[in-house]
């Protein structure tokens, strides 16, 4: 496979209708002058994306990443994306209603997450950041479990080994090293599963990401790095992270990188499958840059109107991942109104279930502070637990006295 060559090859079809109008030389692409919104959009168009479904919902082929899905599988991808978007919208609403302290929305990134998530086998292992709600969905993690940390009742409400889906990681890029180490372990075990590490364009600036590239390349670890370049790291545009397209970073570390249309679920699925297969067969790591867009705020604490133009969002709305798949499915006669209505109904039910589950989520017991600090126990924790228990009990005594009075 010539992944890198493919990524750089000029494709007659082009990534968008406007590609030819704004062609620039590679030297010009890296020019510091090309910053700001206009420069970003231009660069997006200049760099070839692997694409199998155009924004208009037209199916196209790619020489290296062909994929043949059954109607059932195609409908499944649509369902996954719609339900994930619904779940995300519900969580945003719950935050606005004060039920969650914070929410990191994935709006706009459904294709990147569902496409890559559905490429995984059960025995693969996922190391997510904190926005991978769609990947979690694909792994079978109950969506309500994702909300515990945002509600403040825990720091991760699921057993990572039940679904081979590690806890969300808040510190940017840390998990890429955990993924690499885990992949080194997979390799030592002689297993043929693969590991995937998710991170964003902002995390690409972190030393840990560079170190994970180094380690994975040196040990030829079976790990796929899936970078969702959603264009913004809170208020910092990608230009503040890098002067070269992110997928090209891989080359300097000695493994291939490819840029995929992150709003094209089919392309994300096809490229991730290929990368995982590569890892499984001992060919080492690969970097996938899913070129996408975060439609909403970084988190509910953020106000994107302070740093980005409405026109930019509007331009990306035209590339909506769900819309394009629906157009395609309809044009091929693969879905009918009845199916779309049933998905809508399922969405409403999911929203209701999530809402009720969050509101019913109990605060943890006071003594949970002292639980699981250490696996084998720790004298100081034991001492403080006993002191705190006695302190808590003193209120019960006071209450009893008050009642007696």
């Amino acid at each position: 496979m010539t992944v890198e060559g493919t990524a750089q090859r000029k494709n007659a079809r082009g990534s968008s209708k406007r590609t030819t109008a704004k062609k620039a030389t590679p030297a010009k692409k890296a020019s510091p002058a090309k910053t700001g919104t206009a420069g970003r959009a231009e660069q997006a168009e200049q760099d070839q994306l692997v694409q199998l479904l155009t924004p208009e919902g037209k199916r196209v082929e790619h020489p290296d990443y062909s994929i043949d899905l059954s109607p059932e599988e195609l409908r499944g991808l649509y369902r996954d994306m719609v339900l994930t978007r619904q779940f995300d919208a519900e969580a945003t609403t719950l935050q606005r209603q004060g039920e969650l302290g914070l929410w990191a929305s994935l709006l706009g990134q459904e294709a990147a997450q569902i496409g890559s998530g559905r490429a995984l086998r059960d025995d693969d292992y996922v190391f997510p950041t904190y926005r991978e709600h769609g990947v979690a969905w694909c792994r079978g993690v109950d969506p309500t479990n994702l909300l515990g940390m945002f509600r403040g009742v825990n720091h991760g409400g699921w057993d990572p080994n039940s679904n081979n889906f590690h806890l969300y990681t808040i510190v940017i890029g840390s998990q890429t090293l955990h993924a690499t180490g885990y992949a080194m372990g997979v390799q030592k075990d002689g297993a043929d599963s693969a590991v995937i590490a998710y991170f964003g364009d902002g995390a690409s600036s972190q030393g840990d990401v560079a170190e994970s590239f180094t380690f994975s390349a040196v040990y030829n670890a079976p790990v796929v790095f899936f970078c969702q370049n959603n264009q913004w790291a809170i208020s910092e545009p990608t230009e503040k992270q890098t002067r070269v397209p992110l997928y090209q970073r891989a080359r300097g570390f000695g493994f291939p990188g490819v840029r995929v249309d992150g709003n094209d679920v089919l392309a994300c699925l096809a490229v991730t499958k290929a990368a995982l297969e590569r890892a499984r067969t001992g060919q080492g790591p690969m970097l996938i840059e899913a070129f996408t867009y975060r439609m909403g705020a970084h988190t509910t604490s953020d106000d994107p109107t302070r740093y980005r133009a409405d026109e930019e969002r509007a331009a990306w709305e035209a590339k909506d991942p769900i819309q394009r798949l629906r157009v395609y499915l309809q044009s091929e006669g693969l879905v009918d109104e009845e199916f779309l209505a049933s998905i809508e109904e399922e969405s409403v039910a999911l929203g209701k279930r999530v809402r009720e589950a969050v509101r019913a989520m109990p605060d943890p017991d006071h003594m949970a502070i002292f639980e699981n600090v250490y696996a084998d126990g720790h004298a100081l924790v034991d001492e403080e637990r006993a002191q705190f228990a006695a302190y808590q009990a003193s209120f019960a005594d006071a209450d009893a006295i008050a009642e007696g009075n």
């Binding site: 057993d159 090293l177 075990d189 170190e211 994970s212 180094t214 699981n372 084998d376």
Partner: protein
């Protein structure tokens, strides 16, 4: 290996790693130069030859990468023993240790374990250039989720490392590098003390000296000199800094009525502050003098020509003993 042999701490640690690797195929040794070179202090000498490159792993020069990948390996069921080449080099890995390694078990509500042991040759006295002589133990002891231990002799070095590796918690294992080549008895047969138990290494009745790692030897020397002056000094080797075995210190102070804590790390916000506070709480009515501390200054570790002034030595500790006894 013979029982009751006199052996250096470096060789005892090597024997301990060997024993751990033989006992459990999941134990890995990782770090910079740990393979063919056997580590810059030769602590891992010969291990790669006997256990292979797959288990004694020479890593890229990237401390965050070493610890971060060790976490991933631990999540996969391995027991990595990581070597940080020198104390001052641990800081690039500080984020991984503090934000990830220490908290992962708690974050996962106990569902995952990350039994990573981080070996750090620490503290001064070897005439090194900067960043090679630091004592960052308090920075780690402050972090819940980590355990911190530091041996002062060969038997402890041998047993405590095996205990740390066998446990399911992350452990920072500080090695007193200036004692690496000190020989002491290695007893491979007796049942060792629990990992976090402090030990009275010199009995006395007038004053307690509490120390750990490289300072235990200084305190034993102090006790000898003090004895010649007619003062009976008890020395407690703490062995573990997280948790600290306050019960053993308390028993000693209840007997002697006086406590001086000695460490190389800066006194300010150091382990001595914690010990002084706790022991004052526990022994307020038995104390005949305030708990005193002897340690490094609130300055960067000095150039090596000044380290004898910076490090607590016989005279500075004796001075503190005299001050405590003068109350």
């Amino acid at each position: 290996m013979a029982v009751h042999e006199k052996i250096t701490i470096a060789k005892a640690i090597n024997a301990s790693l060997r024993a751990s690797m033989e006992a459990d195929p999941k134990v890995l040794v990782m770090g910079e130069d740990v393979g063919k070179l056997g580590g810059v202090f030769r602590v891992t000498d010969g291990l790669q030859k006997d256990f292979g490159e797959d288990r004694v792993i020479d890593t890229p020069l990237a401390e965050s990468g070493i610890v971060g990948t060790a976490i991933g390996l631990a999540l996969r069921g391995y027991r990595p023993v990581v070597e940080i080449q020198f104390d001052g080099f641990v800081f690039p890995a500080y984020d991984q240790i503090v934000t990830q390694l220490a908290k992962m078990h708690a974050r996962a509500l106990g569902k995952v374990k990350v039994p990573v042991v981080i070996r750090i040759p620490y503290a001064g006295g070897i005439g090194a250039v900067e960043h090679h002589s630091e004592s960052p133990e308090a920075l780690f002891a402050h972090v819940a989720g980590l355990k911190i231990v530091t041996p002062s002799n060969s038997s402890d070095a041998y047993w405590m490392l095996q205990q740390a590796i066998a446990g399911d918690d992350p452990v920072i294992y500080f090695e007193p590098k200036r004692r690496y080549h000190d020989k002491s008895r290695l007893d491979t047969e007796s049942i060792p003390d629990p990992l976090h138990k402090a030990r009275v290494v010199q009995n006395g009745s007038d004053l307690t000296l509490a120390a750990y790692g490289p300072m235990v030897k200084v305190c034993l020397d102090v006790a000898k000199v003090a004895a010649e002056e007619g003062k009976s000094v008890e020395v407690v080797d703490l062995r573990s800094l997280s948790p600290i075995d306050f019960d053993t210190v308390q028993s000693s102070v209840q007997k002697t009525g006086r406590l001086v804590v000695v460490h190389e790390a800066p006194v300010f916000f150091g382990a001595g502050a914690e010990i002084a506070a706790r022991i004052t709480e526990r022994c307020f009515y038995q104390l005949e003098a305030p708990v005193l501390r002897v340690g490094g200054f609130h300055s960067p570790y000095p150039p090596s020509r000044l380290e004898d002034e910076y490090l607590p030595g016989l005279d500075r500790v004796l001075d503190a003993v005299d001050r405590a006894l003068a109350y």
